[in-house]
């Protein structure tokens, strides 16, 4: 029987009193006009010329001349119209009139020229075609400029939609002051949060709520718990605060709204062009046919991925004709090996005395969840008779080994919108490009010529030139596309009308209302 003396009674009462006075965490109370979005790392000062600040917050504060729309449609931003000369050597822009930066500085041709000259023709930004081929800028009228190029850059307009450095900063902004013309103004930023307030003078559609708090929550579980507790309204986005498929499935089961939309980046299994084993097309074909992409998408991505056999999904422009996603076919994979001169069966294969054994380089740091995918693929290939050895390394080792093609198999991902297809093609499939630690998916002299032609071809011929690249990659089984991961977000029920922006590099706020 429970004995309750005076001392324990008083202690219990005091304890309960203490707990009862703890205020319940305000959920939406006091935040009726504020959208609280999780970000995985601090935004920083949003310097447009430094590769430090997180990419996701720029588009809330800064506008570009052209904005990236759904499917790669080019939408007017600070330019209302643009004209490319017939020779492709100049592009004229009609600048939006009546626009000011949030410090009151007018946006006009002079401000545009000042901004563009900060990166066009500058060596650090030679990876951007329009910067690399920049000749000069002329001011044609107070609200009209022309950018002249040394060579035509067919992807120039798409390049003007990327996150940085192409967006426009107030020429009067002091160092560390992120002042743009965008729908939001940075009220404050620190290592714990960035507070944005609505720009009531914004030239475009104004947000329906007045304040956005970007809360730094590095841990994914903590973000999910904060959403559950009502302390956050929105979590997700690969470049904002990634939400894993497993976590999304768990949140969905708890009544949270999960928004999943087709992605723009493809997860690809890359074959090292320097590996003697991988130079054998029969081996590449066997791997291509021996993987069950649908199973990978269903089991490892909880259905939040779409199987694919193409380098780019249809969510990016000029992605090419669709290749039917092959069903896994062990017999066909083994037949390909036999046709390639390999002898063996499901217990193993050999050719010229060498056993078919593949090194599969994986880094959980570089690509979270990749170890599980690799193990699943290892099992599938084992049934074909292809032995794979998974090597798990850290991010730095991956960054050293991948550029040197020091692997047989490893994972890659395309850049996604708005950087593709020209971004990934020009960097990851060209021998001469310097991609630094990212490495390249596949290179070959024949491919170099095709990619160069495709990237230099504009107008109506561009689609055909791009298709020639895709066909070469497919005919040579130069890479093994696996899935296109979906864009995953989870939102608090008080958030209404949640719609994703066109790219994973933008914050979602358009169309959102708060209940």
């Amino acid at each position: 029987m429970l004995k309750l003396d005076r001392r324990s009674f008083l202690a219990t009462t005091a304890g309960l009193s203490f707990l009862s006075v703890l205020p319940r965490v305000a959920h939406a109370d006091g935040h009726a006009d504020t959208l609280r979005v999780a970000i995985a790392g601090e935004t920083g000062d949003l310097d447009l010329l430094q590769n430090v600040s997180t990419l996701s917050s720029y588009s809330a504060v800064f506008d570009a001349l052209i904005h990236y729309g759904p499917g790669g449609a080019l939408e007017p931003g600070l330019a209302t119209a643009w004209t490319i000369a017939e020779d492709g050597l100049s592009i004229s822009f009609d600048l939006r009139e009546g626009v000011s930066f949030t410090d009151g500085t007018p946006f006009d041709a002079t401000a545009a020229e000042w901004n563009l000259k900060r990166w066009m023709g500058v060596a650090d930004f030679s990876w951007i075609g329009i910067a690399d081929n920049y000749d000069n800028i002329t001011i044609d009228a107070p609200n009209k400029i022309t950018v002249k190029l040394k060579r035509p850059v067919p992807a120039a307009l798409l390049e003007l939609t990327i996150v940085r450095p192409v967006r426009f900063l107030s020429p009067k902004a002091a160092a560390g002051q992120p002042i743009g013309t965008g729908p939001w103004i940075v009220e404050s930023y620190s290592s714990t949060e960035t507070v944005l307030v609505r720009n009531d003078a914004y030239w475009g559609e104004k947000p329906a709520f007045g304040r956005m708090e970007l809360k730094v929550v590095p841990d994914e579980l903590a973000r999910a718990n904060a959403l559950r507790a009502g302390e956050l309204d929105v979590i997700g986005g690969d470049w904002v605060a990634a939400l894993s498929p497993r976590r999304a499935k768990a949140l969905e089961g708890e009544g949270m709204t999960i928004v999943a939309e087709p992605g723009t980046a493809t997860t690809i299994l890359g074959f090292s062009p320097k590996s003697p084993m991988m130079q054998d097309k029969a081996v590449r074909d066997a791997i291509f046919m021996g993987i069950d992409r649908a199973a990978v998408a269903t089991v490892l991505f909880e259905g939040y991925a779409d199987p694919t056999a193409d380098i780019f999904p249809t969510t990016v422009p000029t992605a090419g004709a669709r290749t039917p996603v092959p069903a896994r076919d062990v017999a066909a994979a083994q037949a390909a090996l036999t046709a390639g001169g390999w002898t063996g069966d499901a217990s193993g294969w050999a050719k010229d005395g060498a056993a078919l054994e593949i090194a599969f380089l994986v880094s959980e740091e570089s690509f979270p969840g990749s170890r599980r995918i690799a193990e699943m693929i290892q099992g599938m290939l084992m049934e074909v008779g292809v032995k794979t050895n998974i090597e798990t390394v850290d991010n730095a080792t991956m960054h050293e080994r991948r550029p040197n093609f020091d692997y047989d198999l490893t994972f890659f991902a395309t850049y996604g919108a708005p950087y593709d297809p020209h971004g990934s093609l020009g960097a990851s499939f060209v021998t001469a490009s310097d991609t630094g630690p990212d490495g390249k998916i596949y290179v070959h002299p024949d491919l170099d010529a095709l990619v160069a032609t495709a990237l230099e071809t504009g107008g109506d011929s561009r689609q055909g030139a791009m298709q020639a690249v895709y066909d070469w990659l497919r005919d040579n089984t130069a890479a093994c596309p696996l899935v296109v991961t979906q864009r995953l977000w989870a939102v608090n029920p008080r958030v209404k009308g949640f719609t994703l922006p066109a790219t994973d590099y933008d914050l979602p706020f358009k169309g959102i209302t708060l209940g």
Partner: protein
């Protein structure tokens, strides 16, 4: 005493020097290229081999390791720990912003560990084999065996998600500190509670305790007045060791609760191969470890005259 104190300080400084040299060597031996990271930060995808080579040359990364260490040490002694490769800010600024957060976490956790361990240890000794003693023994075992990320997750689910009493992350008033403090204090409190309990049991069997009982003192009176002061030295030394280990716990706790302290920064520095940030924080950890242990040594010497006597051959 003064000579002994100076000797301890000298040893502590030597230890710091050796530890920073070791960490410097380990950080530079880790895979990855500082120059490549700096180039990538400055130029993004435009970083090429030429730019990387120039940065390496400018920073003296091709110099012999001892030369680089000496240069780093000279800068560090003037408070210049370099610029973080991840945030682009001087590490001195990062420290100024983040150390108060970590200190608040450690101080609160330390006080909680102190109070909890003494309360649990004394209550256990007072019960002496009774139900309270056995329950507290079990709790201490669970507390010492449960990883802090699991404790944090459970506390958040119960007190934040289910009951809505405290925030899940960030700092917003005193209540937001409760879960981080409990999480970081649980392990040291559990260990220290056993130290208190075991040492009190031992002390209670000493002759002076028996004398106390013979004089008619109650068990509680003997515990608190006679036995407790006698466990000060073992408690103090164990507390010092546990307190220094709390900074390791802070690495996890800060990340889970979204606190922007040096522990959370350290995790991000590792992820982004921010070598400069890593080295600066490891140095901070070394200084913290050595300083706390030095402080404990000095306090122990002040508390116990036997420790002040010079050792005889």
């Amino acid at each position: 005493m003064q000579r002994m104190f100076m000797r301890r300080v000298g040893l502590a400084l030597l230890l710091m020097l050796a530890a920073t040299a070791l960490t410097f060597w380990l950080v530079t031996a880790a895979p990855g290229n500082v120059a490549a990271l700096i180039a990538e930060r400055a130029a993004g995808a435009g970083a090429d081999g030429e730019m990387i080579a120039k940065i390496a040359d400018d920073l003296g990364l091709n110099d012999p390791l001892p030369v680089r260490y000496a240069r780093w040490l000279g800068d560090a002694l003037t408070g210049d720990f370099g610029v973080s490769l991840r945030t682009g800010k001087p590490m001195a600024e990062e420290f100024a912003e983040r150390i108060p957060m970590t200190l608040a976490l450690l101080a609160g956790g330390g006080v909680l560990a102190l109070v909890l361990s003494l309360a649990m240890g004394i209550a256990g000794a007072a019960s002496n084999g009774g139900i309270v003693d056995r329950v507290l023994h079990g709790l201490a075992l669970v507390g010492a065996s449960t990883p802090n990320f699991f404790v944090a997750a459970m506390l958040v689910i119960v007190f934040s998600v289910w009951l809505g009493m405290v925030p899940t992350f960030g700092v917003a008033g005193l209540t937001s500190w409760l879960l981080p403090w409990i999480t970081i204090a649980l392990f040291p409190a559990s260990v220290l509670a056993r130290v208190v309990r075991v040492n009190l049991q031992d002390t209670m069997s000493r002759p002076f305790a028996t004398t106390g009982f013979a004089k008619g003192l109650t068990r509680s009176a003997v515990l608190l007045r006679e036995a407790l002061p006698n466990i000060a030295i073992p408690y103090m030394t164990t507390f010092g060791a546990q307190f220094t280990l709390m900074i390791i716990g802070a690495i996890v706790v800060e990340r889970v609760f979204g606190l922007n302290g040096v522990g959370a920064f350290f995790i991000e520095a590792i992820r982004f191969r921010d070598f400069i940030g890593m080295q600066a924080i490891l140095t901070l950890f070394v200084v913290f470890f050595v300083s706390i242990n030095l402080l404990v040594d000095v306090l122990a010497m002040l508390a116990d005259p036997r420790l002040r006597r010079p050792r005889k051959a």
